[in-house]
């Protein structure tokens, strides 16, 4: 793929993965400005279709802004951003992208099922789709393991349950691209494992492309590919294995630290905007 022109031999290790398909998202010179701060500084990256790409970096490095740019809710974005073959923000993309914000965005004063029913009606309006909607709602409930809580008010659920309702909403329309902002934050280890299993099932069975952000480096190992971010720039892009091999480290966290140190040595006076 064009993005790996460095042609590192380590990019494709002994590989359990099939060769990368065409990218679902391609960004060139992606820049975003919030107020007088440049949050994204000319990023180039691709998201391979049907894979789980992890977006990792410390809090405040621009992960959310990058995701908001991809789903076209971020204003003042420049550069080229192609999503599923159309420029980001194209109205035709709206039914094809699922986006889950960090804070769960659901109606607290509706039950879980009523929340899903409404968002399903927005995605698939009309009487003709009634059966399809009911099936989509049931499947989304099962996907996030909330079938037993379907009739509970969203506001009465625990934080982790509410964020799974928010995730279920994003799964409703069987989106081609799923953008998840820190979906596993604050969840217990069992739930985290279950959710990561779900992400991989979505990629494998439904061909969904996933972009999952996290600031917890140990989740990196669960991704097919990684984008490591720091201060509005992409530090590195590749499989977890390739990143470890390139920096001669045993964990992605060490690789990240190594890359930060190397970058600091290479340009000790990094220009600040």
């Amino acid at each position: 793929m064009m993005n790996y022109e460095s042609g590192e031999p380590g990019d494709r290790p002994g590989e359990p993965e099939p060769p990368d398909p065409a990218p679902a998202v391609t960004a060139r010179a992606l820049t975003a400005v919030r107020g007088d701060r440049t949050v994204l500084r000319g990023l180039d990256f691709t998201l391979p279709a049907g894979r789980v790409t992890g977006l990792l970096g410390p809090s405040g490095c621009g992960k959310t802004t990058l995701m908001r740019a991809v789903v076209a809710t971020q204003a003042k974005v420049t550069g080229t951003l192609t999503v599923l073959g159309s420029p980001a923000g194209h109205p035709g993309l709206r039914p094809r992208i699922g986006y889950v914000t960090q804070a769960p965005s659901v109606y607290d004063d509706l039950t879980v099922r009523q929340n899903l029913d409404y968002f399903a009606a927005v995605l698939l309006p009309g009487r003709a789709h009634r059966a399809g909607r009911a099936a989509a709602v049931d499947r989304a409930l099962a996907d996030v393991d909330l079938t037993d809580h379907a009739d509970a008010l969203a506001g009465r659920l625990s934080g982790g349950q509410r964020s799974r309702v928010s995730l279920a909403v994003a799964l409703l329309g069987t989106p081609d691209l799923l953008v998840l902002d820190e979906p596993t934050v604050g969840l217990d280890p069992v739930l985290r494992r279950d959710l990561w299993d779900l992400f991989h099932r979505l990629a494998a069975d439904r061909g969904t492309t996933l972009l999952v952000s996290s600031h917890v480096m140990d989740e990196a190992e669960r991704c097919h590919r990684l984008l490591l971010m720091r201060e509005g720039a992409i530090l590195a892009e590749g499989t977890p294995e390739a990143l470890r091999r390139q920096s001669g480290t045993t964990t992605v966290e060490e690789a990240f630290l190594h890359l930060v140190d190397t970058a600091a040595h290479a340009s000790p006076e990094e220009p600040r905007p």
Partner: protein
């Protein structure tokens, strides 16, 4: 705009209200309680009750819907559900019309109760048709919904949103002719009251109070209120942005 999405939005807003019976009860019963109170405050002068009562029948829906809509839309903005909806294939008009439809329906129930109580039990003396009172009340409710939607864009918190009530509603309340006929005000104030929509709502109610038929002035008043509602709704739509910073 898709009618099915508009209706789904209206149904969702009503469902939210159903989970909040206390708010619903306050919306429906407070106007009735106020009218009841007013009737006995002006026990000795039934004429005053007629004028003020009729005016209030127009003002209640405006204030209630203003408050409810500004808080509801603000919650929609702060909870992230607005961003989520605008990232989905939902037209802005679907959302606004959905809200207007749902709260319009609540306003109809509120007005039926208040008008029924005032005319039926409290002896409010209306020369014209009570249906026309209801029509103006509905238009006022739409205006309140529109204003609430619009100002919610300028409120960063629910705390700020309720402060918009005195800022937007009270001046209109003072200048609408509820307390003293608008002709008796200082000329500058009368001029201001001429451009405030609530003045026309109250004028319209008073037309129904005094005339058995639909008068030209009533039609003008109703059209002004409806026009203002549509204008402000359009302004409100402009404050809904798919991309935000």
């Amino acid at each position: 705009m898709t009618p099915a999405r508009t209706l789904a939005t209206a149904a969702r807003v009503l469902r939210q209200l159903r989970h909040d019976p206390r708010s619903l009860a306050l919306m429906l019963l407070v106007p009735c309680a106020m009218l009841f109170l007013l009737r006995y405050v002006f026990d000795g002068s039934p004429g005053t009750f007629d004028t003020i009562g009729a005016s209030l029948l127009g003002i209640f829906p405006l204030i209630t819907m203003f408050l409810v809509t500004s808080i509801a839309t603000l919650r929609e903005r702060t909870s992230g559900t607005l961003e989520r909806l605008l990232a989905m294939p939902l037209g802005k008009a679907d959302l606004i019309a959905g809200y207007a439809l749902a709260f319009g329906l609540v306003a109809v129930v509120q007005s039926v109760l208040a008008t029924g109580l005032a005319v039926g039990l409290l002896g409010l003396d209306v020369v014209g048709s009570p249906w026309l009172l209801l029509l103006v009340a509905l238009l006022d409710a739409l205006l309140g919904t529109a204003l609430g939607l619009f100002v919610s864009a300028f409120a960063a918190s629910e705390f700020q949103a309720v402060q918009f009530m005195p800022a937007v509603i009270f001046p209109q309340l003072l200048l609408c002719g509820l307390f003293t006929p608008r002709e008796n005000m200082a000329p500058a104030l009368e001029a201001i009251s001429n451009v405030l929509p609530m003045s026309y709502a109250v004028d319209g109610m008073n037309e129904v109070l005094r005339h058995p038929d639909v008068t030209g002035a009533f039609v003008r008043d109703a059209l002004v209120v409806a026009g203002c509602a549509v204008l402000v709704l359009a302004l409100g739509a402009a404050t809904l942005r798919r991309r935000t910073t």
